[in-house]
Every structure is written in structure tokens, then in C-alpha cells.
Symmetry: C2
Subunit: 140 residues, 2 copies
């Protein structure tokens, strides 16, 4: 799985703790240790789906436009990583009973796996993540 999914979670969690002002991609990238352009790419997806709002120019940046408890990890997964579970297997041999049909069989199984994963991810909202982060932080 590429890390756009975790980057999106990271960014939203960050924003959920900065509700009073906009955060720049530079600030978020410093927290996540990735290039600011990547943050902007991922956040532009989240923006298209209405989870955040952005503003260009001085004082601009990104800010949460929903309540953190309204956004769950499955929402984010579908935006950033839909189909990522599906392994990219090579086209197999059409002259072999196994090769000719395996791909379709596995495809449908992985579709099911992703939906099943969704049931799990739906249980976690960004608010939950914020709480877990705070919780871990107090232990240090």
C-alpha cells in the first residue's frame, strides 16, 4: 500500500488540532516528514471531497471543514487508496485452466477483502485518532 492513506490521516489529525487557523502545507509536511508538494497533492483530493477547505495567498493554507467525528478511515481509504489491496499480478496463461481463470477469481476475492476491511476502518474516525494520539502523548 502506498502511504497516501496514512499521510491523509496524519494531515487531517494535524488539522483537527489546529481548528482556529489555517495550516500551510509546509507546516504539515514538517510534522509528517515528507515533501510539501505531496501534502498538497493528497490534500487536494480531500478538498475535492469536502473534508477540508483551502485558501491561496498570504495567511492561506488548509483547514478542516467538518467535525473530526464525521470523517472515518474508510472514507479516507476510498479517496486515497481505492483498489490498493488488489495485487497487480501478471496476465497469466490463457491456455491453462488455472491461468485462464485465476485472475478473475482472485479479483472478486480481493474486492470482497477490501469491503471487509472497510467494515473495520469505518470504526475509526479522525476524532478517535486524535484521542489516541493525545493518549499516547500523555504517557511520555
Amino acid at each position: 500500500m502506498n502511504s497516501d492513506f496514512t499521510l491523509a490521516i496524519h494531515s487531517l489529525t494535524y488539522l483537527a488540532l489546529q481548528l482556529d487557523h489555517m495550516s500551510t502545507s509546509d507546516a504539515i509536511s514538517e510534522s509528517a516528514c515528507v515533501h510539501p508538494v505531496r501534502i498538497r497533492k493528497v490534500l487536494s483530493l480531500l478538498k475535492k471531497h469536502g473534508f477540508i477547505v483551502s485558501k491561496e495567498g498570504i495567511g492561506g493554507g488548509f483547514i478542516f471543514s467538518k467535525d473530526a467525528s464525521e470523517v472515518n478511515l474508510w472514507d479516507i481509504y476510498r479517496i486515497t487508496s481505492d483498489g490498493a489491496l488488489q495485487p497487480k499480478c501478471p496476465d497469466s496463461n490463457e491456455d491453462c485452466v488455472v491461468g485462464a481463470n485465476m485472475q478473475k477469481v482472485l479479483f472478486s476475492i480481493f474486492i470482497g477483502a477490501e469491503q471487509h476491511l472497510g467494515q473495520y476502518l469505518k470504526n475509526y474516525t479522525i476524532k478517535d485518532i486524535v484521542d489516541l494520539v493525545n493518549q499516547k502523548n500523555q504517557l511520555c
Copy 2:
């Protein structure tokens, strides 16, 4: 996810249809359209876990040593792809509340996700895959 998992499934399904004789890595690789050395690598893992038996030399190869209904996809996943769901995110910024704790929080969530996925994969045995492949084949 790398495709060792699907390769293992492909190979075992192939073997499940060739119970009367040993199959060479060449034969399996032809069905799966990958290099025979990769087949040998993956199958050596399955051998270590007792799912198959191998024999070197003339007339050698691989053969199933269990009943296809005794091996499920979760068994195979753990052997070939354990931890594959875990995204490899960069170490994040320790000076930031989010950065410092996110990694641990996400780690435990992905552990849970993998276990949840396991519940789904347990529902499919190699026998089920064989049946599905045969079923698809009859439609053509």
C-alpha cells in the same frame, strides 16, 4: 501488496489439480507467467510450512501434501505477506504531538486491520479456489 500471495495461491491451485504426479517449477511458471526461480522461492516457503513436498532430480518437482480443503488463504497470507498491509511511512517529527505519536497509533490500527482481513481470508480454502476456477471455466 507484492504478488507472492497470489503466486502461492496460483501454485497451490495448480498442484491441487495435479495430485497424481509432481509438477516442476517450469510447468507452474508457465501457467502463472513468471520466472521459475520465483516459483521455487515461493514454494520453498510453503514447503517449510508443510503444505507441499518437493523432490529434486529427474521426475522431481512439487506436490500437495495436504488436502486442498485444509489450506485456507489466511494460512498462505501469513506465510507470504505477513505485515504487508502495514504502510511504510517515514519516521515523523518527534517534536510534534502528531508526528511523535502517529506512527504507533497507526501501527496498532493496521495490526487490527490485518487480523480483521484474516477473518475474511479464512473463509476461502484452496478447494474453494479450485471450485471457483472450474466454475468460471465452464462458462467459457
